[in-house]
Amino acid sequence: MATIRYGDDVFELAQDESVLDGLTRQGIAIPSGCRSGICQTCIMRALHGTPPAAAQQDLTGHQRQQGCFLSCICYPQHDMQVALPDDAPARLSATVARVERLSADILQVTLHCHADFRYRPGQFINLHRNETLSRSYSLASVPELDEGLHLHVKRIAQGKVSAWVHDELEPGLQIEIQGAMGDCYYTPDDKHQALLLVGTGSGLAPLYGIVRDALHQGHRGEIRLYHGSRGIGGLYLLDELRALQEQYANFSYFPCLSQQTLSGFRSGRAHDLALADRPDLKNWKVFLCGHPGMVNSTRKKSFLAGAAFQDIHADAFVVAQQT
């Protein structure tokens, strides 16, 4: 069993216990979110010992060099001395400016950040409810077009942060955020490349930001956005997206319903329709956000349909396993 040293605490990890779980068991509060190796809230740094490669897989080369690792998926074979990284995105104070309803279970939260906050639409931030409880939300706003940061927060059954957002957030409240992180955003390196965006539920948030960012930056290639839900109640920003479609000839918007038939809407699952419409994705850039099952299977299908692996940006909205 590996021995973990954190500050003055030294303890042994149990069988199949992650570094995060071990520290939590010791009563040491480490910020964490998804507990699935996605949100990077629980990032730590090894002062001694080498983190297992699996716990560093999705980090940048720079972070790996510094010995950073994700403590929630770190199951070391050897002893480690660990610390919180000094270069984790700083926690910043922000004020809730507006809370608006987008659909039955999704709110748009607008935050004003006091510090100079740089981000690209589609990246995510961590929203902290308290010292140890946070969740990741994607940015739907475009800094050049919008005032403040826009988040689409869906109420999750038993969700500790989403319930707090839905029930307690109100204009004027001070909260803490951390970010921006992630590489799911538009880059203007090839303005003629075709873009395919597929999202379910509040997975529209990053895509709404990316589409408007691309159009604002003068993207010339075809842009196809598929937003899926079971029924009409799960779709939102319909008017705004239809207006964008009117305004830009290269932008097409497809609201899709998988369990309801309505004129003006595509019938079927968004990702199935998207791939059936464009079976050859060679040279396309693909953005996938929302339900993890949809994201993972569509990532594979897009890749098999010819999209280069590095041109597929996927953001699976993992619901936290436990808190």
Binding site: Q57, D58, N296, R299, K300, F303, L304, A308, F309
Partner: protein, 125 residues
């Protein structure tokens, strides 16, 4: 250094060759009905990194795999029935990938020999 003094990895084209090969190879493997079921439900980013490590090794490049790593890494697949026919399928996909990239036949044979050398460890024998 003369052409004959170069390592296999240098002759094939080093990391750039691996990067060119990884999408082609991984797409072939995922699309191959003989073996695609072994990749169901795996995280593609992690899997792509593994494919890259495998190709680096097959191309004679730097790697840290030991025979024991190969055994451990594939033990759960051997339990699911991984056998010689599946290994053969991967070998075919590897050769087809290099042919597509116009790697000369003698270098393909060298890379295939390196990959072949892992067979018993991969299959847990």
């Amino acid at each position: 250094m003369t052409e004959t003094g170069k390592s296999l990895y240098e002759k094939i084209g080093g990391e750039a060759a691996v990067n060119a090969a990884v999408d082609i190879f991984y797409r072939k493997v995922l699309a191959d009905d003989r073996i695609s079921s072994f990749f169901e439900g795996v995280d593609m980013s992690k899997q792509a990194a593994k494919q890259k490590a495998f190709l680096t090794m097959a191309f004679g490049g730097p790697h840290n795999y030991s025979g024991l790593d190969m055994r451990r890494g594939h033990a759960h697949l051997v339990e699911k029935g991984l056998n010689d026919s599946h290994f053969d399928a991967v070998m075919e996909n590897l050769a087809a990938t290099m042919q597509e990239l116009k790697v000369p036949d003698e270098l393909i044979a060298e890379a295939a020999a390196i990959a072949e050398s892992t067979r018993n460890d991969v299959l847990g024998r």
